[in-house]
Structure formats: structure tokens, C-alpha cells
Symmetry: D2
Subunit: 115 residues, 4 copies
């Protein structure tokens, strides 16, 4: 991972990594949900995954730049990650169960960042 700037960015590294992983898990899970036979029951989950992937990607980018809104952004990101995890946990397939774990992990790191 880049470590070229200063400590204010370094302290964000764990959270940046969690956001990158959560973004990836959500995008993967979204693609997989479309292929499930019960895709119609997943409309809410799918909409959560779209938002969660996007906000994690932007949180990662804003922390990288040392945005002064990093905390506020991470606070909203934590809320969305937790909601997305709750929704994914309802489905028994491997991709939703795995995605929920990455969402919970990201929510935890974002809450630390926001505090």
C-alpha cells in the first residue's frame, strides 16, 4: 500500500483497506445475486449493495486524499454497511454470507474513523 505522504493518511489505512474489500465484496455479490433463482426476493438487498459499493469506493478515495469530511463520510458509510450486512445475512448463499462479513468489518472500521 502507498505510504508516501503523512501520518494523517497512514492512520486511515486500515479503514481504506476495509472499504476497498467491502466495495469488492458488494460488487461481486451484486453480480451473483442477479443469477440466483430467487432474484425477485432480493430487490432490496440488491439496492443496498449498489449504494454500499459506491459509498465504500468514495470513502476510500476521500480518506486517501485526506478529506476534511472523512469522518462524516465514514459515519454514513458505517450506517449503510451495517444495513447492507443485515440484508445480506438473510440469504443463505455463500456470496451473501461472505459479503455480510466484509460489510460488518467495514462498518466497524468506519465507526472508529468517525469517532
Amino acid at each position: 500500500m502507498p505510504s508516501v505522504v503523512d501520518s494523517s493518511v497512514q492512520q486511515f489505512q486500515t479503514c481504506i483497506n476495509a472499504c476497498n474489500q467491502c466495495m469488492q465484496a458488494c460488487e461481486e455479490c451484486l453480480t451473483s445475486c442477479f443469477k440466483e433463482p430467487d432474484v425477485q426476493a432480493r430487490a432490496h438487498c440488491i439496492n443496498m449493495l449498489r449504494d454500499c459499493a459506491d459509498i465504500c469506493a468514495m470513502a476510500s478515495q476521500w480518506m486517501s486524499r485526506g478529506s476534511m469530511y472523512g469522518k462524516q463520510f465514514c459515519q454514513l458509510c458505517a450506517t449503510i454497511c451495517d444495513d447492507c450486512a443485515t440484508e445480506c445475512e438473510k440469504f443463505q448463499d455463500a456470496h451473501c454470507q461472505e459479503c455480510a462479513k466484509f460489510c460488518r468489518q467495514c462498518a466497524e472500521e468506519c465507526r472508529k474513523m468517525a469517532s
Copy 2:
């Protein structure tokens, strides 16, 4: 890193990681460039960094979802990463020199992906 879906995503992992790292390096470098005394000489470099950070972020997100445009997107990403590296290499400060390395690495992985 998430590994929940299928091999088509797994083969992208090295490139996804390189894009995440390059995005971060570019955002960090951009923030640092604004603080340099010769910031006016860096206008072109700064504009490269904006585009490079954005395209790396999106390339990472598109590979994660298994987009059918992954190759074409990575091809453009490789071009921009190489151009950004060339520009960053002109400046002697640590953040530009480091950023250039991440850009070259990302360009190489994106070219593999695009081939």
C-alpha cells in the same frame, strides 16, 4: 480480500489491488502537490493525477463486478497510468517519485488484463 464469487473475479485480484493502490497514491500525491512551493509548475501533473485516481477507482469497481468492458477499461487505464507516471517522474519530491512507481505497476497489471 473477498474471494466469494468465481475464478473470473479471482484472476482480476492482482489488477484490482494495483488499481486500489494507484488510486490511493494519486489522491495522496495530489493533496501533497497543492502544498509544494512550485505548485504552479505542476498544473499538468495535477490534472493527470485527478484523472488517474478516478479511472483506477472505477477500474477496480468494474473488475470487481466482472464487467464485460473490463479489458477495454483497463486498456485506457494503462494509458493514463503510464502518462501520469511520466509526469510524476519529472518532480523530485518523495510523493511524486513514489506515485510514479504505483502508476507504472498499475499500468503493467492493466495491460496484462487488457491483453
Copy 3:
């Protein structure tokens, strides 16, 4: 619409507007597709809409900043918009038919920009 900078941005305004409209149409259409009874038959269309919405959003942002990669980005955007239109045209509901029109319009403006 903002008109504060210079002619190089002004000449992009028609294309920026087309990209904004296409992004919106794709996001709306995506949300609507999830609610359709034949959502499983729409997996490819849905994946096209995700990519098309994202690339239109970024094309609009890059043209606004006067990116030197505007043309190359618009060329890829045109390809994706045309593919997305072709896919949406296969479905008879109003949102897909409307979305296809915005995609075609955006593809045309992006091709002009790229030429």
C-alpha cells in the same frame, strides 16, 4: 448550466447534458428492472445498465474538468451506450424503451466528441 470557464468546456455542454440524462435514465431503468416479473431474463441488460450509468457519470465529470482524455473516454462511453441501447430495446416496458433512446442520443453526442 455553468458557463464560467472557457470555450473548451462550452463545446462539451451538449455532450455533458446527454451524459447526465443517460446516467439518470440508466439508474432509473435499473431500479425498475429489479421490479419486473421477468427480472431473471434481464441479467445482461442490468449489467449493461450498471456500467453505462457509471461511465456516463464519469464522462460528464471529465468533460467538465476539461480532461485531456475526454475524447478517448467518450469513445468508450459511446460503445457502451450503444450496447446498452441494443439490450434495452429488447424489452417492451416503457422504462427500457425510454432508456434506449437516451442511450442512443448519448452515444451519438459522445461519438461527435470523440471524432
Copy 4:
């Protein structure tokens, strides 16, 4: 503008347009700020513009999809737009003065959306 889905999207149209315009004004203003002789005095303004452009772009995309987080996202967007306007108003050049107006307008529409 697309009008294919439902009233929940239609009510967002004024705010979507304001976000699109503000994103564009911020990107244009950012590019112009780099060319100003006092660019070093603009570091904080420039960092505001980066965040403001990004959050407006995402707010527009999320409203288009009818995200359940539209209100919360618009609330944060309003805060950032107002802060960006305050910063831009400090500079007398046309692009900053114009950009501040678009930021204020967007903040107002986002606050209506969030209420």
C-alpha cells in the same frame, strides 16, 4: 430529462439538476484555480472543490436510482456545498464567484430534499 419511472424520481429532478450543475461548476472552477497566479493561497478552496464535485456527482446518481439514503446523502451534500461556496466567495475571479452561486443553489435544493 428522463421521466420514465415514477413520481419518487420526478420529485428529485430539481435537485438532480442542481447537483449536476454544481458538479460541473466545481470541476470547471478547480481546473481554473490551478492556472491562477495565487494558486498556493487556494489549497483549501481546491480541496473543497474536489469533495464537492464528487459528492454532487454521487448525489445525482443516487437520487436517480431512488436510493433509500437519498435524504441522508443530500444532507451531507448540502453541508459540503455551503462550505465550498463560503470558500469560493473569498476569491474575486469569475469562476469562483460563479461556482459559489451554483454551490449555494445546490445546497438549498439538497436541504429541501433532506428535510
